[in-house]
C-alpha cells in the first residue's frame, strides 16, 4: 500500500474550447520524491497543477492523488496538500499572524492547534520577528516565505510549489531550496514547477519536461543529461559558425543559445582542440546541464505565441 503513488496521471488532457492546454500527460510521483515540472510558459504546468486539486476540470485521462479523483474528491485531497501558488495572495492590510490564522481556519485547524503551529513555522522560515507586521511592509522574499508557511500549516503530505522562487534574490532562493530539501528528507512529497534549470537540478529526483501540453522528456536530472545532451558545451561568440564548422566532428552538435554559437562534444579535450583549430576562444566551457536538455527538447527558439 505504501508503495502506491501519491500522484498518478495517465493521459491527462485539458481543452479550453479549441485550445489544448494539456494534450496528454503521464506522470507518477511517489512518496518522498521531489518531482520537477519544467516547460515554457503556456506548456500546461499550472493547468496540470489546477487539475490536481480540482480547480481545473480535466477533459480527459485518469488522475489520482492519494488514490482519490480530484474531480470528485477535491476536498479530501485538499486536506492533505499544501500549495504555494504563483501569486502569494496574502491579505495586504492584515498582519502576518492574522493572515496565517485565517488560513489555519480554512485548513480546519482550531485556534489551539494553529497558534503553536504558526509560531513554529514562522521561526522555521525565519519570520518570527515579523509576526505582527502588516503584509504590505514585508519584502517580496518575506512574502514568499510566508506563502510557504501558509502551505505548511496543515502539515501536508504533498507540497505543490508553483514557481516558488520566481523573482526572488539568490539568498532567498537558496534558503527556500534548503527548506524544500529538508522537507523532502522528512518524508514530504514535493511537486515543483520552475523556469530555473539549476533549481530543478538541485531539488528534484525526477524531472518531467512539458512542451505545448505534452511530455517531451522525463527522468532523473543526471539521467536526462546523459541521455539527451551528454558531454561538454563550449559557448562561442556570435557569428563564429563559419569559422568553427569545418573543425567539427560529425558526432558533435552545433546549436544556438540566443545569438551565441554553441558546440556540444563528448569530451572536454574536444572543445580545447576546437579552440585551437578554429582560432576562436570559447566564452565558456562547461559540462552539459539540464538547460541544454531543456532547450534541446523544447526547441531553443521562443514559441510562436510568446
Amino acid at each position: 500500500m505504501n508503495d502506491s503513488p501519491i500522484i498518478q496521471a495517465r493521459g491527462v488532457a485539458k481543452r479550453f474550447g479549441d485550445f489544448e492546454a494539456l494534450v496528454t500527460l503521464d506522470l507518477e510521483v511517489r512518496k518522498g520524491q521531489c518531482v520537477g515540472l519544467l516547460g515554457p510558459n503556456g506548456a500546461g504546468k499550472s493547468t496540470f497543477i489546477g487539475c490536481l486539486y480540482g480547480v481545473v476540470a480535466r477533459t480527459g485521462g485518469d488522475l489520482e492523488v492519494f488514490g482519490l479523483d480530484p474531480a470528485k474528491q477535491a476536498r479530501d485531497i485538499k486536506r492533505r496538500i499544501g500549495v504555494v501558488p504563483q501569486e502569494n495572495a496574502l491579505d495586504d492590510g492584515l498582519t502576518v499572524l492574522e493572515n496565517m490564522r485565517i488560513y489555519a481556519s480554512f485548513s480546519e485547524l482550531s485556534r489551539k492547534t494553529a497558534d503553536p503551529r504558526i509560531a513554529e513555522l514562522l521561526s522555521y522560515m525565519m519570520l518570527e520577528a515579523k509576526r505582527d507586521a502588516t503584509i504590505k511592509t514585508l519584502s517580496g522574499g518575506m512574502k514568499r516565505r510566508l506563502a510557504f508557511v501558509r502551505a505548511l500549516l496543515a502539515d501536508p503530505e504533498l507540497l505543490i510549489l508553483d514557481e516558488p522562487t520566481t523573482g526572488l534574490d539568490p539568498s532567498v532562493r537558496h534558503l527556500l531550496w534548503e527548506k524544500v530539501i529538508e522537507l523532502r528528507d522528512k518524508g514530504k512529497t514535493v511537486l515543483v514547477t520552475t523556469h530555473y534549470m539549476h533549481e530543478a537540478e538541485v531539488l528534484c529526483d525526477q524531472i518531467v519536461i512539458l512542451d505545448r501540453g505534452k511530455v517531451v522528456g522525463t527522468g532523473a536530472p543526471r539521467e536526462l543529461i546523459e541521455r539527451e545532451a551528454p558531454g561538454f558545451v563550449g559557448i562561442f561568440q556570435p557569428h563564429t559558425d563559419e569559422a568553427i564548422k569545418p573543425h567539427l566532428d560529425p558526432s558533435w552538435v552545433l546549436f544556438h543559445q540566443g545569438r551565441q554559437c554553441c558546440v556540444r562534444a563528448p569530451r572536454f579535450d574536444d572543445l580545447l582542440e576546437l579552440q585551437r583549430a578554429s582560432g576562436h576562444t570559447a566564452l565558456q566551457m562547461r559540462p552539459a546541464n539540464l538547460e541544454d536538455v531543456y532547450l534541446k527538447l523544447t526547441g531553443s527558439e521562443l514559441n510562436d505565441d510568446e
Binding site: 480547480v55 477535491a74 495572495a89 485548513s107
Partner: protein, 258 residues
C-alpha cells in the same frame, strides 16, 4: 454526503476573513452605507415634507423612512458583491489561494452570501435605530424584524452583484450595471413614491426583488400589515432569492474554476 457541516463551517470562515479585512478600515467602510440614507432622509425627507403633503396619512419623511433600511441592504449587498468581490477575485487573487485549502467554490459563494446577510442585517439594525431616535419608527417591534428582512433582501441584491462579477469584462463595466439596473431598481421600487398597483410600473416592479423587500419593511415599520399582500411579497422575495442565488452559484463556479 455528510459534508454539509464542515462545508458550512468553512463558509463561515470566509465571513470571518471578510470581517477581519473589513474592520481594518471600519470607518471608511461603514460611513457610506450610513451616510446615503441619512442624506436622503435629511434632504428629501425633511426638505420635501412641507411641499409633498401627506401620503397615506403620513409625512413624507415617515413615508421615506422604511425605504432607507432597504436602501442600505441594496447598496451594502450590491457593492460588496460587485466591486468588492471582483477586486478579491481579480486583483487580489484571494480565491486562488483560498481554493487550495479545503474550501471549494460553493463555500466561497455561500460565505459571500452569509457575509452580505450579516452585514446588511447589522446595517439594517443601525438604520432602524437611527429611525427610532428620529421618531420615524412608529412600530418599535420593527427593530427586530427589519434587520432580518434587510439581511434576506441583501441576498438577491448580492446575487445580482455576483452575476455582474461573473459577466463583466473589466471593473469599469460595473458602472453600466449600476446605471441601468441598480439605479432604476433603487428609484422605482416604491422607496420614494407609492407605486400605483395597476400601472405599467406596478407590473414591472413585481420583477424587482428589491420592491418586495421595500414593501415588507414598510409594513413592519409602519405597523400596518396587509397579510395577504405580505405573503405575496414574501413569496416573491423568496422566489427571487432562490433563483438569483442559484444562478450566481453556477456562474461564479464557472468563473473560479475552469
Amino acid at each position: 454526503m455528510n459534508d454539509r457541516l464542515p462545508s458550512l463551517r468553512l463558509s463561515w470562515q470566509v465571513v470571518v476573513r471578510n470581517w477581519m479585512v473589513y474592520r481594518k478600515d471600519f470607518l471608511a467602510n461603514i460611513s457610506p452605507t450610513l451616510a446615503d440614507p441619512a442624506l436622503i432622509l435629511g434632504s428629501l425627507g425633511m426638505g420635501l415634507s412641507g411641499y409633498v403633503g401627506r401620503i397615506d396619512d403620513m409625512s413624507y419623511a415617515q413615508f421615506l423612512a422604511p425605504g432607507m433600511i432597504a436602501t442600505t441592504a441594496l447598496f451594502t449587498a450590491f457593492f460588496e458583491s460587485s466591486y468588492g468581490f471582483y477586486v478579491r477575485m481579480t486583483f487580489e487573487s484571494v480565491f486562488k489561494a483560498m481554493l487550495t485549502t479545503p474550501i471549494g467554490v460553493n463555500e466561497v459563494v455561500t460565505g459571500e452570501f452569509m457575509w452580505v446577510f450579516v452585514r446588511a442585517g447589522l446595517m439594517g439594525l443601525g438604520v432602524s435605530l437611527v429611525l427610532l431616535v428620529l421618531g420615524l419608527l412608529p412600530n418599535p417591534l420593527a427593530i427586530l424584524i427589519c434587520p432580518l428582512i434587510a439581511g434576506i433582501l441583501a441576498l438577491p441584491c448580492a446575487a445580482i452583484g455576483l452575476l455582474a462579477s461573473a459577466w463583466v469584462r473589466n471593473i469599469n463595466q460595473f458602472q453600466t450595471v449600476y446605471s441601468f439596473l441598480i439605479a432604476p431598481i433603487f428609484y422605482l421600487s416604491g422607496v420614494f413614491f407609492p407605486v400605483p398597483s395597476n400601472s405599467f410600473l406596478g407590473h414591472l416592479v413585481q420583477w424587482s426583488p428589491f420592491y418586495h423587500g421595500v414593501k415588507l419593511i414598510q409594513f413592519s415599520v409602519w405597523g400596518k400589515v396587509d397579510w395577504s399582500a405580505a405573503l405575496w411579497h414574501a413569496g416573491l422575495l423568496g422566489f427571487f432569492t432562490i433563483a438569483l442565488c442559484g444562478l450566481s452559484f453556477r456562474f461564479i463556479g464557472r468563473k473560479l474554476t475552469t
